[in-house]
């Protein structure tokens, strides 16, 4: 017969409450970023939690370890599905259709990766993202640029004042990872690689399964309102169930206390 302690009941319920709370937080974060360019939604993932194997499996318990311990939040899985590509009228608004990330240089010299393609030119004509981090590979536009053209294969062409033919001045490259889900989010819509994601493999757009660049467009977040609402309702209901379970556990403990 499995051993049981009165307070373990409360802990099982608490594990459930904590997981549901996290799911509500994750959904709320998705909601908050529904209009963030290039945002990739997260989902909370749970696993069934059995107590550690200090205790021998009780016969007939149907489990290999001591006792049930509720649920465990394993991971917040980020879903890197394609967001909707929306047209914009700025020429340095870029969207990636398919796999890959833009690369930006952080102030400390390291490289960060993003799907947010709203870039701009700084005072010296150098391309930066909205936080002012330099685009990699560095692209500087000649001061006498009159027209800029960004092709789907990443080549950047400019037509200088007085010229009729545009010339190629740079090529945008994209980075991709063996496991996107392993990327670590560092805020400002930026990701950095980890051991789980693998090293960045940089290639020209359209080559080696890399996505293509769409100029004058932005990738909307991949958050879908209806899915999030369904998840929120589910998580809230599950939370209420756990509160109910906790109340019941408490009532049982109170009854046990009142035996005499």
């Amino acid at each position: 017969m499995p051993s049981i302690s009165l307070t373990s009941l409360l802990h099982v319920a608490r594990a459930g409450l904590r997981s549901q709370q996290t799911e509500i937080d994750v959904v709320a974060n998705n909601f908050a970023n529904i209009n963030t360019i290039g945002y990739k939604r997260s989902r909370a993932e749970f696993h069934e939690l059995l107590n550690d194997r200090l205790e021998a499996p009780p016969a007939g318990s149907g489990r290999t370890s001591g006792q049930a311990a509720g649920t465990l939040l394993a991971d917040n899985q980020r879903i890197f599905s394609q967001g909707l590509i929306q047209p914009s009228d700025r020429e340095w608004d870029l969207a990636i259709e398919g796999e890959g990330f833009f690369q930006v240089q952080m102030p400390d010299g390291s490289t960060a990766y993003t799907r947010d393609g709203s870039f701009q030119l700084d005072g010296e004509g150098q391309l930066t993202n909205i936080n002012g981090y330099f685009f990699l590979p560095n692209i500087t536009l000649p001061p006498d640029t009159e027209q800029t053209l960004i092709n789907s294969d990443g080549t950047v062409m400019v037509r200088r004042r007085g010229e009729t033919e545009p010339e190629t001045i740079a090529t945008i490259t994209l980075a991709r990872f063996a496991n996107n889900a392993g990327l670590e989010k560092i805020g400002e819509n930026l990701f950095v690689p980890t051991d789980a994601s693998g090293e960045a493999q940089v290639a020209q757009p359209g080559v080696d399964g890399q996505g293509q660049i769409v100029s004058r467009a932005l990738e909307a977040s991949n958050v879908e309102l209806s899915n999030e609402v369904v998840d929120l309702i589910g998580a809230q209901r599950a939370y209420s169930l756990m509160v109910r379970a906790m109340e019941t556990s408490d009532e049982m403990l109170s009854l046990a206390n009142q035996v005499r």
Partner: protein, 249 residues
């Protein structure tokens, strides 16, 4: 006299265990691939009571129960509802079968189809265990992955592997091993033939717990626990009376 006290206390203890199973189920109401537990009860061996007079047993009075205990926690292996996620590495099994995964402790089985591709391109579960195909762990080259309902895996429309499912003749031989995985006891399961496999890409199987039923059960357990508690109190009261009043002449 005292026997009744133990019988009532056994009712309370069993109530706690049933409640624990329900709370564990409820806390996993949103866990993908979760299979609900059910506590089954058994009564203690009942006693045959006989009337004893002058050292000789006469007529039988009847049988008296001596309490209740937990017989076993059984897992309900029925399928849970399947939801659409559109994530290419999410899989749901319709009807029977388990994904086969390799852990450090050997082969385990799961219905949780949230898979990922790791740094080396291997297909892994959310816990990081290798997903097994026909020829061992599945390694995915880069490219678009499609899986037919029979589990045949294609990368960029080139056939690669088969996602094999295991089937157990008797679900009593599978026990829970934590993290929504199961371990086989005794005989190894059969690999399901292609035509029996039904696996859906972009879907996940939700917990098979019926939350309404669980809450109802929780209410009934609470009341049964309360009744047992009253019985303990009542027994105590009777014992008290026996001690203080019967002795008085």
């Amino acid at each position: 006299m005292i026997r009744g006290l133990y019988t009532a206390a056994a009712g309370m203890l069993t109530g706690l265990m049933r409640h624990e199973t329900i709370v564990h189920n409820l806390s996993n109401v949103r866990t993908i691939g979760y299979k609900a537990d059910r506590a089954t009860l058994k009564d203690f061996p009942s006693l045959l009571l006989t009337e004893v007079r002058n050292g000789q047993s006469r007529s039988e009075i009847g049988r008296a129960g001596t309490g209740v205990s937990l017989a076993a926690i059984k897992t309900d292996f029925s399928s849970g509802p399947i939801k659409l996620t559109d994530n290419p590495l999410d899989f749901a099994i319709a009807d029977e079968g388990f994904f086969r995964i390799e852990t450090e402790d050997g082969v385990r089985y799961t219905r949780d189809g949230r898979f990922h591709r790791d740094v080396d391109g291997r297909l892994i579960t959310a816990n990081g265990y290798l997903v097994l195909g026909e020829n061992g762990p599945i390694t995915l080259p880069e490219g678009a992955i499609t899986v037919t309902p029979q589990g045949e895996l294609f990368v960029n429309d080139t056939p690669l592997e088969r996602l094999t499912l295991a089937r157990f003749a008797d679900t009593d031989n599978i026990i829970k091993d934590g993290q929504t995985t199961f371990v086989a006891q005794g005989e190894d399961p059969e690999i399901m033939p292609l035509q029996d496999v039904q696996v859906y890409q972009g879907y996940l199987e939700e917990s098979n717990l019926d939350s309404a039923q669980a809450v109802t059960e929780m209410m009934s357990v609470l009341r049964a626990y309360q009744a047992s508690q009253r019985l303990v109190q009542f027994q105590d009261q009777i014992n008290g009376q026996a001690v203080t009043e019967l002795g008085r002449v």
